[in-house]
């Protein structure tokens, strides 16, 4: 998930649960699953949720393009203005929303995020999609599903199910933003939000 952490030195309590090659395999598998489920790539638009959903979306789109031999439209969808906790946190900067030129009307929109947790981000993303057009279908792809859902939301494509306790944090690193690809779980006694 997009992490507030700026630190790369993992504490003794943290452990890497997924490495770079796991991530690569998971994304390739997700790309194939998307193609299989939608019987090809026609009408598919991949939208990553900032921050780390965006490079994941791009990688999935690239993997799909490799198979299909055509370019897959991919972009980003910022959900900040649709969050339900805006009153609870200091205002944050908006991330870019970049919808591919064809728009999303009648398309199959694949939302991509790094970690699926409470489900509230996806709820917000569905609202945002709704304001941008009327897709034929919306599907959800996540690299990690760590459980603890607070809303009736499930992922269509999951890189890895990762049972966690609420006292743990899950941190996805991607080479586009971080030193390397990986997923790290660490224990923390300090928690914020609903975690």
């Amino acid at each position: 998930m997009s992490s507030a952490s700026r630190s790369h030195d993992h504490t003794a309590a943290s452990r890497e649960v997924i490495d770079a090659s796991d991530i690569a395999r998971a994304l390739t598998r997700i790309a194939h699953e998307i193609l299989e489920r939608n019987k090809g790539s026609a009408n598919v638009v991949i939208l990553g949720i900032p921050t780390r959903g965006v490079p994941l979306a791009a990688r999935i789109a690239a993997a799909m393009a490799n198979v299909e031999g055509v370019e897959i439209p991919a972009g980003s969808l910022d959900i900040t203005m649709y969050r339900d906790d805006l009153r609870l946190h200091p205002a944050r900067a908006l991330e870019p929303t970049d919808i591919p030129a064809g728009g999303i009307d009648d398309a199959v929109v694949i939302l991509v995020d790094d970690v699926l947790f409470s489900g509230r981000t996806i709820r917000a993303a569905l609202d945002a999609v709704n304001d941008l057009g009327r897709p034929a279908a919306v599907q959800l792809a996540v690299l990690v599903d760590r459980g603890h859902r607070q809303l009736p939301i499930r992922a269509d494509f999951v890189g890895k199910n990762l049972p966690t306790s609420l006292s743990e944090t899950v941190r996805v690193t991607l080479s586009e933003y971080d030193d390397n690809d990986g997923v790290v779980i660490s224990n923390t006694n300090v928690s914020r939000g609903s975690s």
């Binding site: 959900i79 009153r87 975690s195």
Partner: protein, 324 residues
């Protein structure tokens, strides 16, 4: 960001950049089928206008409505204010109505400051122009417009021309543009420069011609002809000749320079009609950028952590924060 936006001085460089970046994202909203965001659903924004300013009020109203806020327009004309109700009683009424933000335009310098700091209201206060003091959202939209055309404003040269003494736009722009790293030159007859302007973070000049050659943006301020009755200058004609942006001066501007005006314009006085309508005039664009900038301001002011109003049952986070 502070709880209020009363002066451009309230904005540190990071704050100002945050507003401008946010506005840039929000500008794309104008191209969407649904020009509305749910962000401020259930919040109440009051436009409290003691002075007529349809342009500014509509801009704030559009901004608030695009963020789904409830908007109450409170115009002092024809209201109890004109019957002698004090600013305090008006403020207490707004507080009782549960206003989350008050956008105030007032003829008296410092009235928004007074509203924000008197303890009468808990809402955020946004200064939409006070007397001859400041108009920070105008400065933000001017900076936004300049950034769109000129890129990063660091070391950019901006010339502001006209009645600086009575201009809240000039005050707010001088502060904000300096904060953003621009080099600001104020050009005016000596009678229309404020006392102490030498302590401002700007250059000043009495001569428009020498200030045009290298500037990246020139902003013409409205000059009211009434000022000549108070002997600030001898005649409209002389003012126009010495400080108006006419075609001759326009040709001296560098190719990339843009022409701005906060409006409403006196065509033929501070700016010629041809210049106002030229391709390098961004005056109309300033208006449309105003909505995005004011959306950004309202969003950033109102979505801050306001613990006094936190509903404990709503404490679930959309995207749980990670602490490492």
């Amino acid at each position: 960001m502070k709880h209020h936006l009363l002066s451009s001085a309230d904005l540190a460089r990071d704050d100002a950049v945050l507003v401008l970046d946010t506005a840039a994202e929000l500008l794309s909203l104008a191209d969407r089928p649904i020009k509305k965001l749910p962000t401020l659903r259930g919040r109440t924004i009051v436009n409290l206008f003691f002075e007529d300013s349809t342009r500014t009020r509509i801009s704030f109203e559009a901004a608030a409505k695009r963020l789904s806020a409830d908007v109450i327009n409170f115009s002092a004309k024809g209201s109890s204010v004109s019957k002698g109700e004090s600013l305090k009683d008006t403020a207490l009424t707004l507080e009782a109505m549960g206003a989350d933000a008050v956008v105030i335009r007032h003829g008296s310098s410092g009235a928004p400051h007074r509203l924000a700091n008197s303890g009468w209201v808990r809402s955020s206060v946004v200064n939409a122009g006070d007397g001859t003091h400041e108009h920070p959202t105008q400065a933000l939209l001017d900076a936004f417009t300049m950034r769109k055309h000129l890129g990063d404003l660091d070391a950019k040269r901006v010339t502001i021309v006209g009645d600086v003494l009575h201009s809240r736009v000039a005050r707010s722009n001088a502060l904000l543009l300096s904060t953003l790293g621009a080099e600001v030159t104020l050009v005016a007859p000596p009678t229309l420069l404020p006392v102490g302007v030498e302590t401002w973070p700007v250059q000043t000049s009495y001569d428009l011609d020498t200030s045009l050659d290298k500037c990246d943006a020139v902003m013409m301020l409205r000059v009211q002809a009434e000022r000549m009755d108070a002997a600030f200058f001898p005649s409209a004609r002389e003012y126009s000749r010495r400080y108006g942006l006419d075609d001759r001066r326009f040709k001296r501007l560098p190719e990339h320079a843009i022409v701005m005006h906060p409006g409403p314009m006196n065509r033929g006085m501070e700016i010629s009609a041809d210049v106002a309508d030229s391709a390098r005039s961004v005056i109309v664009e300033q208006v449309s950028n105003g909505v995005a900038v004011r959306m950004a301001v309202l969003y950033l002011l109102l979505s801050g952590a306001d613990l006094s109003r936190t509903d404990p049952t709503a404490s679930d986070s959309t995207k749980p924060e990670v602490v490492s």
